[in-house]
């Protein structure tokens, strides 16, 4: 277990925080850490910056993230990693497509490689890490395009050479279902699943025998297309199969 000092913690919106910390670990864009609240749980979290200093950006949705949000500069965080593969280096015209907290993982790439950013959220109050030049979609139309980030992005796919996508599984699934599978762009997805170990041995995050934590988290389109369980079913903490709402079985 590693530990590091918190440099700063900033509230990005009503429930999203960015915590910057002082660590010597070397990480690549797209990698994640397993962050631990001593005496509490350990959860996977994407690095939102992999250049010095490192950062994580998270939504408070449970006890662990709520505790992390109360940390102050000088406090310690505990973690192991970094784990997982990283986004490949792009060439040509680049697009980033983020939904939910997906923009946190993509941010580590956006900091390194210029590109057009498509960001989606339910309302303008749910957006975070947004800059003026980003193309924004909100479900209620409170900012930018009214609709999903998938609706906003799909018509533009042909303009790009590299596309990086991160978001909740149903969003990623709907994007995959709607794009031209023969598009010239190389499309990469950072996937999210329940993870317990983070190092490829517990099998909690596996999709058709492919481990999100160790074989991914980043996969190219063709790899995701082979995962027949993707967007259809996932595992609960017991290992039981659970179907996504609205999934075609």
């Amino acid at each position: 277990m590693l530990h590091a000092k918190v440099i700063s913690i900033k509230r990005d919106n009503k429930d999203v925080f960015t915590l910057v910390f002082d660590s010597k670990i070397s990480a690549e864009p797209g990698q994640f850490i397993m962050i631990w609240v001593p005496g509490g749980k350990e959860i996977p979290m994407s690095l939102s910056s992999t250049s010095n200093p490192l950062a994580i950006t998270f939504r408070t949705f449970g006890e662990t993230t709520r505790t992390l949000a109360t940390l102050k500069p000088g406090d310690r965080i505990f973690f192991r990693g970094p784990y997982g593969n990283s986004y490949p280096k792009p060439t040509g015209k680049v697009a980033y497509v983020g939904g939910g907290t997906g923009l946190a993982s993509l941010n580590s790439m956006i900091l390194k490689y210029d590109g057009d950013v498509f960001a989606g959220a339910r309302t303008k109050d749910d957006l975070f890490l947004i800059r003026d030049e980003y193309k924004v979609a909100t479900d209620d139309g409170s900012l930018g395009f009214k609709g999903t980030v998938v609706d906003l992005f799909v018509p533009h796919l042909s303009e790009y050479n590299y596309v990086f996508v991160c978001g909740p599984e149903p969003m990623v699934k709907s994007l995959i279902d709607r794009i031209d599978k023969k598009a010239k762009a190389k499309i990469f997805f950072s996937l999210e699943r329940l993870m317990k170990c983070g190092v490829g041995i517990c099998d909690s995050c596996s999709i058709n025998g492919i481990r999100v934590c160790k074989d991914g988290t980043i996969f190219e389109l063709q790899e995701v297309l082979k995962m027949t369980e993707f967007g259809v079913s996932r595992r609960t903490e017991s290992g039981k199969i659970e179907f996504f709402a609205n999934a075609k079985r």
């Binding site: 631990w36 350990e42 310690r76 192991r80 317990k196 490829g200 596996s206 492919i210 903490e237």
Partner: protein, 306 residues
């Protein structure tokens, strides 16, 4: 090239490298991946009567000489397990690990497993960190004997009895497993991890099981003692991460071996790495088949009768 096929009980296996219970075997997709990556057989994560979420994270903690875990027997329960494996194509190469708190639970699970088309069970008599099951059951010599005898009486399953090393005398447990087709030695060793800067325990359950390279000498001792005293078919497990480790177990009497924590160091390459190494060793040492080295360092009653 030498033959590395082996036989455990009446189960003939193309090669002796088996996936241990608890690692990458919660989903049927990963079990197939292991078999396609070269495992001779696989053992599933332990299945109980009802669904269990397991313990909260952290459930693993790496140490210099291996791994601590207290995952807490997460499993979907026998009903969901049977449903998931309805059309599974590799039932004969898959050993279903089961755990229970009583003879009746073990028998019920065994009958369900048999009805689902499998023909082998591994009895988890040794999970070191869940109350009321695993090694709490597995430390009771009479109970172990009764569980095995009852499953034998009421099913046609091959039984592998996986024993706990957390006892003073593992040989008496092995003798209580006389009617089992094979013994699996050893499960993890009860252990604790400490994080000194937070002054907290490394695992949410405090106590977990220790696996990996550090426990190999302990496992070798258990295999040696049990093979010497009983001559039974043994599947060796505990700290095997290289082909040399595997050879050590064969020399002391194991007919096959299991790997788990080795995935941390070698991932899915572990199967071909160990198989290739065994093959080269047998060739270079002048043995024509794996069986020729099984137990050669141990003089026991079974061998004396050869």
């Amino acid at each position: 090239m030498a033959s590395i096929s082996t036989k455990v009980g009446n189960f003939s296996i193309e090669n002796p490298v088996i996936l241990a219970s608890g690692i990458l075997d919660e989903t049927s997709g990963s079990i197939l991946r292991s078999l396609r990556s070269g495992a001779g057989a696989v053992v599933t994560k332990s299945i109980g009567i009802s669904e269990r979420a397991g313990y909260p994270t952290p459930v693993i903690s790496e140490v210099k000489t291996g791994l601590l875990n207290a995952v807490g027997l997460p499993n979907p329960g026998i009903d969901n397990f049977v449903e998931e494996y309805k059309d599974f194509p590799e039932k004969k190469r898959t050993v279903v690990s089961i755990f229970g708190g009583s003879v009746e639970e073990f028998v019920t699970l065994s009958r369900r497993v048999e009805a689902a088309g499998f023909d082998k069970v591994e009895l988890n008599l040794s999970c070191p960190h869940v109350q009321g099951v695993g090694s709490e059951v597995g430390q009771d010599v009479d109970l172990v004997e009764e569980i095995i005898n009852e499953i034998k009486r009421r099913t046609n399953l091959q039984i592998w009895s996986k024993l706990t090393p957390n006892v003073t005398d593992i040989v008496s447990l092995a003798k209580a497993s006389e009617k089992a087709d094979a013994l699996v030695l050893i499960n993890t060793i009860r252990a604790i991890g400490v994080e000194i800067y937070s002054r907290k325990f490394a695992l949410s359950n405090v106590v977990g099981g220790y696996s990996g390279p550090g426990i190999k000498p302990v496992a070798l001792r258990a295999v040696y003692d049990v093979y010497k005293e009983t001559g039974k078919d043994i599947v060796g497990v505990g700290g095997i991460t290289t082909w040399e480790d595997a050879i050590e177990f064969f020399l002391l009497g194991a007919r096959a071996i299991q790997v788990g924590t080795a995935f941390l160091y070698d991932d899915y390459r572990i199967y071909s790495d160990i198989k290739d190494g065994i093959n080269k060793y047998l060739d270079s040492e002048g043995f024509s088949k794996l069986e020729d080295i099984v137990g050669v360092m141990v003089n026991n009653a079974a061998r004396k009768g050869d």
